[in-house]
Amino acid sequence: MLDFFTIFSKGGLVLWCFQGVRGPAAAATAPVNALIRSVLLQERGGNNSFTHEALTLKYKLDNQFELVFVVGFQKILTLTYVDKLIDDVHKEFRDKYRNEFQQKGTLGLLNGTFDFKDDFMRLLRDAEESSKVRAPTVMKTFEQSLKSQKTVKCMIETRGEKPKEKVKNKKNKGSKKEGTEAVAVPGKASAGDKQPSAAGEREELTKDEILQKNREEFFKRHMKAGEKSSKSPKPEAQKEKGKKPRVWDLGNSNAKVLDYSNSATNGSAEACPVEEFDPDTALGDRNREPGRLYDLEYESDDEAEEEKVIQNPSKPSAKKGGLGGMFGMLKGLVGSKSLTREDMDPVLEKMKDHLIAKNVAAEIAVQLCESVAKKLEGKVMGTFTTVTSTVKQALQEALVQILQPQRRVDVLRDVMDAQRHRRPYVVTFCGVNGVGKSTNLAKISFWLIENGFSVLIAACDTFRAGAVEQLRTHTRRLNALHPPESHGGRTMVQLYEKGYGKDAAGIAMEAISYGRWKTVGGRRRFGGSVPLNAASLSSPARNQGFDVVLVDTAGRMQDNAPLMTALAKLIAVNAPDLVLFVGEALVGNEAVDQLVKFNKALADHSMAQTPRLIDGIVLTKFDTIDDKVGAAISMTYITSKPIVFVGTGQTYCDLRSLNAKAVVAALMKA
């Protein structure tokens, strides 16, 4: 049932491969490569299964000998024996070829022939059989069940449990009628106090045996008491037989009688007496200053309590680990000790809390620590290294890995490319409200102008008051800093705006076509009416195009569906070269939600096969955080897209690029 099973070293050599049901050998490489790239290299190794197209892949890492075991099977199958199979294969393979790994090293891997097929087939057969043994159990026959052993009498229902009749056997219905009268006696006698229990039992329609037991006990207890008052309930039992129509008290009277509203007071203000208005209770605080808005008060005591609660459970574990930890440390210093989950757990807990204290989103910190644990489990530590240092080292490597860009981050190179193709390079800025889109747009346009590219700013924020004026001020300032005279008569930055209230996607499209290279004058004319006089015919064609078009959009919350649709439409229709998500470094767990929802909205509303998602992140307000730089990790982890720019202030020069090592150093600093 398996598609394939591969064993390969972390260095990339395939040691052994099993081709299962179908497919050539090459069919295994592509899914495994996808697994490596998306799970192992992006530190998502928390859960050990991965889906790629039609296959589900499960994997296991051997960190001692640096091996990876991967099994692939069809997604629609649910094979229960796969986990156990991987563990068994892992143990067997490791024991069988232990010598080659330990002594010969890489050459052993290269030269060794790993003839594992027979062992593997045996393990596979064992695993399949063991899963078959746990097949669905056969249903019990009626003779085997407890029901057949009970007497008929205890199966008969009393008055209190009338709805139960439908659940019972048809066999007992006949006998029930005869016994109803006799049983109704005890039932009625204590019907009062049995009602609440009956109501409870009535709801438990599925627990037949419990009910029977209860009923048996009940009958035993009240058998004697019931016999005395046998006569009175009889007529009532007879009455029960027929079904009587329900009678409403006021059913015959007309609507008028039922109208309890005081018609005299409806709609007339005078009829409503002015209630006793107490300004104190309405306003609350008499002594407040009129018109002032007070700050939000928060209780810091709650936080202190939470910390105490969290510390308490960690204390007993620390005490327990005290003596054992000392021996473990000594053992770790001397010999070659392999790391187990229990050794790493306290350290990982501390690292997780440290990361969360540094403003990494909570779920991402958890996933990161899980992935690091998976990578280190079973690894043999060298001499003079403690568990803490190994885990810290691994976590540091993982963080640097996450922050390394997965694709090229070179905006200037791409702008040059677009310049060569004579079309503008379009960048769109999106994000929630107040993160700094317009400010950083101005900074980026300053940087581009310094490098000799002309910029057209498209004001697609048609909602926020003052957005267009803000961009106009920036344009004026930038033009003052880089006047056209110093750039050969070319205006380096221009604003394209259409005021407020218009459709943003339309403005973006117009701006892009405005920024496109056109030839003005001469025979070829695109757009606009240029009078064909002798002067324009003889003058050379003037190229008026912009190298970069920066599109500023309105800030929007990720939960606001209509606005997200509008943004997705803008991006789908205009197909920008770069979609930048602007996020502030102060954001905490919200970063995860924002990015996920933005990406989802862009993917949902795009008509193309491969939708345009966020291509890069701009991290702003970096100067406001000292070393709580966790937001960078959260954002890159969620999207696996690089951080293209970092904003560190409000002047034009406050634009930086990310340095992964510096950020990780600040993050790991105690």
Binding site: G11, Q404, A662
Partner: protein
Amino acid sequence: AMAGMLEPHLEALRRELRAPDPAVLSVLLALLAVAITLLIWRLVQGRRSSRKAVLLLGLCDAGKTLLFARLLTGKYRDTQTSITDSSAVYRVSNDKSANVTLIDLPGHESLRLQFLERFKAAARAIVFVVDSVAFQREVKDVAEFLYQVLVDSTVLKNAPALLIACNKQDVTMAKSAKLIQQQLEKELNTLRVTRSAAPTSLDGSATGGPAQLGKKGKDFDFSQLPMKVEFVECSARGSKGEEGDADFEGLEKWLAKIA
């Protein structure tokens, strides 16, 4: 009379040598042991610090791991994306005494710089493997990685010999080494400008590095670099496929020269 006076001193000395004071002797022995250990350690350090490593660098799927396997064993092996480095000692075919340590580094974007950091100090030579078939598509990524390797301060200081191996020549669509050289020179020329103009890094150091590749004012050329650069064509898979040998005489000759 003199001999009479020396006699008791000589007797004392003889007595000392015969029954030496354990404290003094042990101190002397300890000092001797420490001195010997220091000498040995310095010798070993000296031997280790001489750079004997040849690094195999390149983008993902360039063929580094297969090349590594072929060089060491001559056999074809299936490979997957590498996650860690692999290293082994490679003996040059005819010369038994010359050997180098071949180190195969992962090419994935998230790992390559980390591993380069770790091994660049020990590098005597660098083999940069390029996928000749996908080169046209990947030229910018290849150039960027090559640029990052070339402007690294340690690499510039040590100036290890650089060989750019244009792999996958067994496929008909593969580009020739000459074409690859021209394209890389053009691309690196542009990268010089764009990378030095990139915004400065967070902690103040420029991303492009203070080093300037080649000579200012002139177009970039591989001859302007402080290290020796050669281009060679090879095919790790070999023209006969998995059963035959790999075609990399140029690479082997170069390795023999380096060792």
